[in-house]
Structure formats: structure tokens, C-alpha cells
């Protein structure tokens, strides 16, 4: 190992599993990385979350927290209590217990979120951006982002809304902003792709739903941001922890493979729900327990209509991306 080498251990590929690298990341951190290649594959995330759940369940003394992302898991630990090698051995043992996709079943709730497209608050965010940041922004040319998203994907605004509503969105992990999840479409026919704002917005309202690249985000609090906006959903976070859903913590999403699906609603409905979450604290969230069986999902992906639909969309998207003004 050269003096800057950081790969302290590996687990060779086996069955459907790619090589796993253990990267040194400090005296209290080890990054478990899945493969060398910078790729965006939900299959990697399924494996990471399946292993992550088992790591957490071990409740190892000295393990502080884990931070799973799309193709890596950052492990934070106290090395005076838990030695790096012991930690690696534990993770290896867990990985060996889930060799193939047949063994991957992820606890995954389905959370239904009403959304109002192009509501007045997210519209205000776009107006402010045009006024304060970039008056000539091509992604806001008609006063909102949906038209630009349609151009980028070679489709219509109606198609964009349909794609958002027509798939479940899978959370590969939370991070970046308190309570925020990174959501990916499970149906490849809904795999939109759009550039991010350049430069970013200064303000986005709580509840805004946006997409950057292929990743969807629901804004947990008002903040800046760079994702193209669809509209506004209900609260997915509550600092004050007043509503019973948030009695144990301010978070709605768990960092463990939650799925969300959107249903269209009016802006009035959304505003009412905000009031019933934050003020009256009596809104009933619609959440079903469930699991994501990876084998079933792979079968879904290989269905003729799904595969063909995805390929057709990808072709249109490629043409759209060429036509879309760069940001």
C-alpha cells in the first residue's frame, strides 16, 4: 500500500454482488464502497440498505451512526471502543449473509403525499429567482419550471405530471438537509432527468417538490436550493415535534428505503393539511408498512411493456436534452 493508500480491505465479488471496498476515512470513519465505478444503480442502494439494517440491528458497542448513500455507506464509530478491523469483519459477515438479490428484502413503507402542481408558493420562489438571481433563466422562461422540464425530457407538461404521479419514489438515504430524503423513480418509464438551477435559488418554501438530475427531493424546511420545481406537498418534517407523527423526532422519512407516491390535490387541500400538521396537529398521515422484494422488482423491470416503455422514453429524452437550453 502506498503512503496515501486508503483501501484497507476488500470483499471479492460473489454471485450478484460487486466487489466491496473498505476505505479508511479517518480515525472514526470507514467508508464501505460498492464497486470502483461511479455508477447510479438502485441495485447498489438496495444492497446497501439491506446490509445497513443488519448493521444497525447488531447494536455494536462503539458504533455511533451510519450514513448510507447511493453507492456507499459511511460508518462513524469510536475506535477506542470498536476497532476498525472488528468493524470491518462484522460488516463482511453481514454481507456474506446476503449474497444475492434473492436474499434482499428491504423494509419499505409507502407514504402517500398529496401534491398541488404549480402552487402559489413555489411560483413565488420562481418569481423571486427571476427578480433577484437570474432574470434570463431559461428554466423559468414562462414563469415556472414545468415547461423547461418537458423540453429536457422530450415530452409535454402533462407527461411530466403523469410520470411524477405514476411511479413510487424510493429513498436511497437521507442527508444534506435535516430530514430530507433522496428519492429515485422505481418505474424507469418515469425516469426524468433535468439540470439543476444555475446559480441556485435563495428561497424555496417548505413542502416544495423538486427534481435535479434524476433525484427527487421534498423540501423539509424553507431553504435555498437548485432543483426544478413541480409544486408543493404536505410537511415532511417538524422541528417542534408537536404532531404525534413527530413525537420521537422531527423526521417523517427514515433512512431505510421508504417509498413515497404522490396524488394530485388542490392548493387549498395542501394549505389545510399544513395547518392540520403544524397548528392543529391532527392530520393523519397515510403510511403503509411494506417491504421491497428486490427479486420481484427485477421481474417488473424485465417485463416487455416496462422495458420497451423505458427505452422509448430514453430515446425521446435524449432528443429533448439536445434541444433544451443549457443552464
Amino acid at each position: 500500500m502506498n503512503k496515501y493508500g486508503v483501501i484497507i480491505d476488500t470483499l471479492p465479488p460473489k454471485g450478484g454482488r460487486i466487489e466491496i471496498l473498505f476505505r479508511q476515512a479517518g480515525d472514526g470513519f470507514i467508508q464501505v464502497e460498492y464497486g470502483y465505478e461511479q455508477r447510479v444503480e438502485l441495485l447498489d442502494s438496495f444492497r446497501i440498505l439491506a446490509a445497513d439494517a443488519k448493521i444497525k440491528r447488531k447494536n455494536a458497542h462503539g458504533l455511533i451512526e451510519t450514513l448510507p448513500s447511493l453507492r456507499a455507506n459511511m460508518i462513524h464509530f469510536d475506535p477506542t471502543v470498536l476497532s476498525p478491523q472488528k468493524l470491518i469483519d462484522m460488516i463482511k459477515e453481514i454481507e456474506e449473509s446476503i449474497p444475492g438479490v434473492d436474499d434482499m428484502v428491504i423494509e419499505s413503507r409507502i407514504i402517500t403525499l398529496p401534491i398541488a402542481f404549480e402552487d402559489s408558493q413555489t411560483k413565488k420562489a420562481v418569481e423571486l429567482y427571476l427578480k433577484q438571481v437570474r432574470p434570463d433563466a431559461p428554466n423559468c422562461a414562462d414563469g415556472y419550471n414545468l415547461e423547461y422540464m418537458a423540453i429536457c425530457n422530450g415530452c409535454t407538461v402533462a407527461d411530466i405530471k403523469h410520470m411524477l404521479l405514476n411511479t413510487e419514489w424510493y429513498n436511497s438515504g437521507c442527508g444534506f438537509w435535516p430530514g430530507g430524503g433522496f428519492f429515485w423513480p422505481l418505474d424507469p418509464r418515469s425516469k426524468m432527468n433535468v439540470p439543476k438551477y444555475n446559480p441556485p435559488r435563495i428561497w424555496t418554501p417548505e413542502g416544495a417538490v423538486g427534481i435535479g438530475g434524476a433525484c427527487l427531493f421534498t423540501y423539509t424546511t424553507a431553504t435555498g436550493g437548485g432543483y426544478q420545481l413541480f409544486g408543493r406537498t404536505i410537511p415532511t418534517f417538524q422541528f417542534a415535534m408537536k404532531h404525534p407523527m413527530f413525537k420521537d423526532g422531527p423526521f417523517l422519512y427514515r433512512p431505510s428505503g421508504d417509498r413515497i407516491r404522490f396524488v394530485e390535490a388542490s392548493e387549498k387541500d395542501i394549505l389545510d393539511i399544513h395547518e392540520h400538521v403544524h397548528d392543529k396537529t391532527d392530520y393523519e398521515y397515510q403510511i403503509e408498512d411494506g417491504e421491497l422484494v428486490v427479486k420481484d422488482y427485477l421481474e417488473f423491470l424485465s417485463r416487455d411493456d416496462v422495458a420497451k416503455g423505458a427505452a422509448d422514453f430514453l430515446a425521446r429524452q435524449k432528443e429533448g436534452a439536445k434541444a433544451a437550453p443549457r443552464l
Binding site: 479517518g26 480515525d27 470513519f29 451510519t66 462513524h76 438515504g173 444534506f176 433522496f182 423526532g249
Partner: protein
């Protein structure tokens, strides 16, 4: 027991080790920038190491005691005065109602001072910690820095507060344990997770570990930005699926606190309120035992000098630190 008369640049309630366990939910640990000064202050007033104190960045602030109590001032010397008389650092003093505590500003060395109050600063515990996350506006004192008129009180029912005040008043830190302040802060660091040969050239890593880098004026509780690295730093042409610049990577969790994160060609040490996850490489991590130094670096003036160490060295340094807090000769009797 202390009323803020003038909030100065930035006074925050912070504890240590901060809000651990929520990185996976997008919440940074926050916590004291200089955990060593805060913890020594706590011991000087008879508190637990984990109690909350006040972090004073820059200075220019003023307090009035609203009650009797014991406090200890540690960290950077800001020429603080109690009723006009210079207040010594690294020892505990009793205060009376009406006493005025006035800070000048940071001087030759160090940027943050800490006030430990006997009993610990009393703010609501939020998700296991009293620390303020300034960037997310939560925790600490209403999620914000202190302003004129705010009153901070000490925890009344703490184990420390029950023991009377006379036993700790006048307690002095043995000078040999006073941390060494500098203008070039030696930060021991461990490469990874993104290093040579796959992300950074060997010459690039040599640069990190041999060239003291000036701290930017734009250094705060989330990131201590440093001067740019040269173009030969990068071992790859772009970030592949992660983006067009070689500093890009498919979003991954950061080794926070202490990550040396590079965005474009600008390295930053991510600390306290920093991002927990993002799409840029992290080339090294400042060891836990040296995290305290980062926030003492004076923006736009001091430098950070990284020294290569092994994980074993770093674990040993942690143990030495823990042993120091237990040392028989920690205080002058």
C-alpha cells in the same frame, strides 16, 4: 445567570460531542468548534465534560451577571475584563450579581473563547444535545446566536451545582496542559476515502501534506475554506457519473467532522454544522484529537498545515486526550 449586554460577533451555546446519531437523517453533529477549550473549562468549574458552555467567536461582547455563580474562561485570549480588571484565562472565578464581563476582540492567536458556567448552560436538550446548529437554526438558544437582552442560566439541578461553589473557585489549570496556540495550525490527518491513486495524484496528496494553506475569510462553523490546490492535484479528468469536474463524485456521506472536502479546486475542512452528504470528494480527515484547532484558526490570516499520520497514531492521540482529562496534576492545587 449571565445577561448579554452586547452580542458581539457570534456567541453560541455548544456542548461536546454534539448531536451524534443523526447524520443519516441530514443533521450534522454541530458542537463546540474547540472542544478542548470547552471541556477544560467545564472541568475548571466542576462540570461534566459534556456540559454546554458559551462559544464566543471574534469577541466584542459584554455580559452582566444576574446572580452569583462560578465561571471559567478558556480558549483564545480576547483581553476579557471583569469589572475593568483583566480576567485570567484557564481558571475558575466567582461572580456576583451586577458584575460586568467585557470582551475586547481576538488578538495574535486563536479566534474562539469559551465561557463555562458552573452547572452548565441550561437550554433545552434537542435530539440529545444542547448544541446550536446555526446553519439549520435549531438547538441551543432558540437555534440562534445570542443577542443583547438574552439571559443564559446554568442548570440548577446538575450534579456539579449541588456541590457548592467554594471547592472549585480559583481552580487553575496546570500551565503544562494549556493548549498551544499558533498562527500555523498543525492538523494531523488521515487520507481517505478519496485519495491517491484513483482520485488524487501522489503529487497532489504530497501538496496537501507539505504546503501550509491559508484560511479563507470565508471560514465559518460549517466549513473552513482554504486556498486552492493546483491543477496537478487531480488524477482524473472528470467526475464520471458524478459530474463534469474531477472533484465531483456520485453523492456520498461525508466523514464529518474533520473531512477535507474539495469542491472545484477549493479545499475546505468540514466541521460542526457542515454538510453531511454531497457530491464532492473527501481526500482526508483531520484526526479527532486535533479537531479543536480548526476553529481557532483566524480567518484570512492563519494557515492550516496538514501532517500525515496513521489511524493507530490517531487512536493513541485520542487515548492520550482522555488520559489528560483524568490526570492527577491537571489542576494546580
Amino acid at each position: 445567570m449571565l445577561k448579554v449586554v452586547n452580542g458581539g460577533i457570534e456567541i453560541l451555546v455548544e456542548d461536546w460531542p454534539g448531536r451524534l446519531g443523526y447524520m443519516g437523517l441530514g443533521m450534522a453533529a454541530a458542537g463546540a468548534m474547540d472542544n478542548l477549550a470547552l471541556q477544560l473549562g467545564n472541568l475548571l468549574v466542576g462540570n461534566a465534560l459534556t456540559d454546554a458552555g458559551l462559544e464566543i467567536a471574534g469577541g466584542y461582547c459584554e455580559f452582566e451577571a444576574t446572580d452569583t455563580g462560578v465561571l471559567a474562561l478558556t480558549g483564545a485570549d480576547m483581553s476579557a475584563a471583569l469589572n475593568g480588571t483583566p480576567l485570567p484565562l484557564w481558571e475558575s472565578v466567582a461572580v456576583e450579581k451586577g458584575d460586568l464581563l467585557k470582551f475586547s476582540h481576538f488578538g495574535e492567536k486563536g479566534f474562539r473563547a469559551y465561557l463555562a458556567l458552573r452547572g452548565g448552560v441550561d437550554v433545552p436538550v434537542y435530539l440529545g444535545s444542547r448544541s446550536t446548529c446555526l446553519f439549520g437554526s435549531y438547538g441551543g438558544f432558540e437555534g440562534r446566536k445570542l443577542a443583547a437582552g438574552d439571559i443564559v442560566t446554568a442548570v440548577k439541578d446538575s450534579s456539579a451545582a449541588g456541590g457548592g461553589t467554594s471547592s472549585v473557585t480559583g481552580r487553575k489549570l496546570n500551565p503544562k496542559y494549556i493548549p498551544k496556540y499558533s498562527n500555523i495550525w498543525e492538523l494531523r490527518a488521515i487520507p481517505g476515502p478519496n485519495s491517491s491513486p484513483d482520485y488524487v495524484t501522489e503529487e497532489g496528496m504530497d501538496y496537501v501534506f507539505s504546503s501550509p494553506m491559508k484560511i479563507s475569510h470565508n471560514a465559518n462553523r460549517a466549513a473552513y475554506r482554504l486556498e486552492e490546490v493546483p491543477d496537478y492535484f487531480w488524477a482524473r479528468k472528470d467526475g464520471g457519473k458524478g459530474g463534469s469536474h474531477p472533484s465531483n463524485i456520485v453523492d456520498h456521506g461525508y466523514n464529518m467532522r474533520g473531512a477535507i472536502n474539495v469542491t472545484g479546486n477549493t479545499p475546505s475542512v468540514l466541521i460542526a454544522d457542515g454538510p453531511t452528504l454531497g457530491g464532492f470528494v473527501c481526500v482526508a480527515n483531520v484526526i479527532n484529537a486535533d479537531l479543536w484547532k480548526i476553529g481557532q484558526g483566524i480567518p484570512a490570516r492563519d494557515k492550516a498545515a496538514f501532517t500525515l499520520v496513521t489511524v493507530e497514531d490517531a487512536i493513541e492521540a485520542r487515548k492520550e486526550r482522555n488520559a489528560m482529562f483524568e490526570a492527577d496534576d491537571l489542576f494546580l492545587s
